[in-house]
Symmetry: C2
Subunit: 438 residues, 2 copies
């Protein structure tokens, strides 16, 4: 199975766990069998591989997520990077061209497109395989997954099938309705549209060439900035007469708000938390290394991260976005392809961060115009390169780097640094990257 | 006026702001005219000086609080250090001997004893002056302040006066009653006993010599460990027939719980906090440098500090002690005589702290057996002494110190360091102090 996972943009609906650079799909919130936690993207990837070991997974995403994806899924996964934010049609066209030109997928092979963050069980991925197989038959140009509604939701679009069979031609689509209209749709056998569909690769390549003047993947990538923003639904689905829908009756949840996310937690708390007996229906997600103590709370969600602390009534939590959008703050935590960093102190003229490099990885060879830096190695072993000079490092070693000096560090084992940045205008944008000669 | 302020022990009733080394009286929670915040001990000290510029203030306290006292009140204030924790009679005897032998207070001068943490207005300190003047008259051996009750409290002891006059002989004392009994006391004209009284210095010196075999302050200090734990009430007040009470009708509050403390706040929030419109009767005290966002909460107290995060229903907050007593954690923040430090990262084999030295101050000259340290100077100027070698330091300078190496730093201006500690067994107890030769 070829599968494209659409990994959507960042947002603050799950602040302080999500922010402008950390999307909800990367939050480690689901308990794993070994007692650790995995993120939505890790969970979905693991589930796909469990159902289809040979599945070729490609994640279609923006440049900002590439580091987090490789950090969480490793280097095996395919990534189709959207160099600019356009809508779903350009994104799916680009990812499909990537499958063809980079991954070598044949034109008549089926491709499944699916959001990266559904909260589902294995039966969902078995249904994706059926979707892929149905597309391979060529009875229709597009095969959609239709999810059997569990309540008359106003949040989803509806697919009206012609038949009650597992696979049916689509009669029509309906936009997000009000509750009464949703009830009427459901009585007619309507299904939720979860944004999941399959097609033969050539079909989308043809559509792409109809609408965009390009030669191949590399050309499409280079032109990406000039593309019109247009959704796949509008550009393709609504105009396509040959569409089938495949019915899926299993569990399907969209964990887009604190309310739905905490409902999916296996235990009421993650991280250090103490709840007294007078607490009722309280969830705590604490990413800090100090305890959260809750007393006498009812229907409350508490979340603490390096970015901030949320304490919200469960219902109210869906109104979070406009409130946190007003908060201007610097990024306090980020995952990178080579590891992660966390801001541990902010002061006038200095910024102190803790850097963790994964074994075998290194950051870019880079310099800064307007700040000096000091590395204090606190654990692990590695090699530092400063202005072309290589030197092994171990805990207790200190490396000082003046502004302008080119530097990187390569981790032999997991390597942790306390990095002290000194300068009047410290900014993440003050960074020049260089190629390493070697 | 000579005044002894009893500065009580540490505790966790106001966790995460108070802990084993930071008592509630040092939490900066009251808004000052210049827009900053002051602690209970700063507020009381300022109020005393406003009412009586010449007041000689001595704080009777344990060794652990001396740093915080000098940090918050400066070096002018007298401090009678209790080398061990005994009860109030030994503490008051020691402080009184300190006044006589160290401060040179004459035997017939009056002394006022008062807790360090009442939440009161200036009229209270005017009443303390009256108390002092009344003691000077010598009509009684002890003059107590009796606070006019505002409700039949079960939390306080009661003083029953003989007369309704401002000054009256005491008829009897009553232990903490139930509400009904309290009502009966109040109808008889009973007053709350707030633990405030005055005497002529010689009176307590005589009582001390009756019960303890000692020559002078230094001798009493040296013997302190051997003294019996006994309260001043039990040792002196209950046995004394010549006692007067002076009536005080002004505002008097004991801010010992989160509930009473937050009631005394001038504004609902301290520190970075955002409350949406659906919040009602919510207080936030946030000592972290990231925002706390509250949504749809009612009657809730939120407090965040480097030690942890409390989210509590207002009523429930009084049950905090047993819950936080179970939390074992390292001290994350401390005030010292020379400044303060805050733990900013804890990892296996390393601890990173931010050290702030006040101008003109230095830490002890010391060494560690089992850890190396690295100082990264991030702001200010000063002088570092390492194994007797002096060297000026400025931002960007790095000083590395192997285990065993003696070191200190003197701040010329406010000086900030990021200190990285490296070792397998990092402990605050691993510290040897030395005299500086110079």
């Amino acid at each position: 199975m070829n599968i494209i996972l659409l990994s959507g943009g960042s947002g603050k609906r799950l602040w302080p766990l999500s922010n402008d650079i950390r999307s909800k799909q990367f939050i480690k919130i689901f308990k794993t069998e070994d007692g650790g936690y995995e993120s939505m993207v890790q969970r979905v990837y693991r589930q796909i591989k469990a159902v289809d070991t040979d599945a070729a997974v490609t994640i279609a995403t923006s440049r900002t997520q590439v580091s987090a994806i490789h950090n969480q899924l490793g280097d095996e996964v395919g990534v189709s990077v959207e160099p600019y934010r356009r809508d779903t049609f350009p994104a799916i066209a680009l990812a499909t061209a990537y499958l063809h030109d980079v991954q070598g997928v044949a034109p008549d092979e089926p491709v499944v497109v699916c959001p990266v963050d559904p909260y589902v069980e294995d039966d969902y991925f078995i249904a994706l395989k059926s979707l892929s197989e149905q597309a391979a038959k060529g009875e229709a140009n597009l095969v959609l997954m239709g999810i059997e509604p569990t309540y008359p939701s106003e949040k989803y679009g509806y697919i009206i099938p012609e038949l009650k069979d597992t696979v049916s031609p689509v009669k029509t689509f309906k936009e997000k309705p009000d509750v009464e209209t949703a009830k009427a749709y459901i009585s007619q056998g309507a299904l939720w549209n979860g944004g999941v569909f399959a097609y033969k690769l050539q079909y989308v390549m043809d559509k792409a060439h109809e609408l965009i003047d390009f030669t191949d993947y590399a050309d499409l990538f280079d032109k990406y900035e000039t593309l019109e923003k247009i959704s796949f639904d509008y550009a393709v689905v609504e105009k396509e007469p040959r569409i089938q829908v495949l019915r899926f009756a299993g569990q399907w949840k969209d964990l887009g708000t604190w309310n739905t996310l905490t409902e999916a937690m296996d235990e009421p708390t993650i991280g250090e938390a103490v709840l007294n007996d007078a607490c009722d229906n309280v969830n705590v997600i604490n990413e800090l290394n100090v305890p959260v103590v809750c007393m006498g709370l009812k229907d409350v969600i508490v979340s603490a991260s390096p970015e901030g602390i949320l304490v919200s009534d469960r219902e109210q939590s869906s109104y979070i976005k406009p409130i946190v959008d007003k908060i201007e703050q610097q990024i306090m935590f980020a995952e990178k392809s080579w590891g992660s960093f966390r801001v541990i102190d902010v002061d006038e003229g200095s910024l102190t961060i803790k850097v963790t490099l994964n074994p075998g990885h290194r950051m870019n060879y880079h310099s800064h115009f307007r700040r000096d830096e000091i590395w204090n190695v606190i654990s692990g072993e590695g090699t530092v390169i400063v202005d072309g000079m290589e030197q092994p490092v171990k805990p207790g070693d200190v490396i000082t780097m003046q502004a302008g000096c080119r530097h990187t560090v390569f981790a032999l084992t997991e390597l942790k640094l306390i990095e002290v940045q000194l300068g009047e205008e410290i900014s993440v944008h003050d960074k020049q990257k260089f190629e390493l000669e070697s």
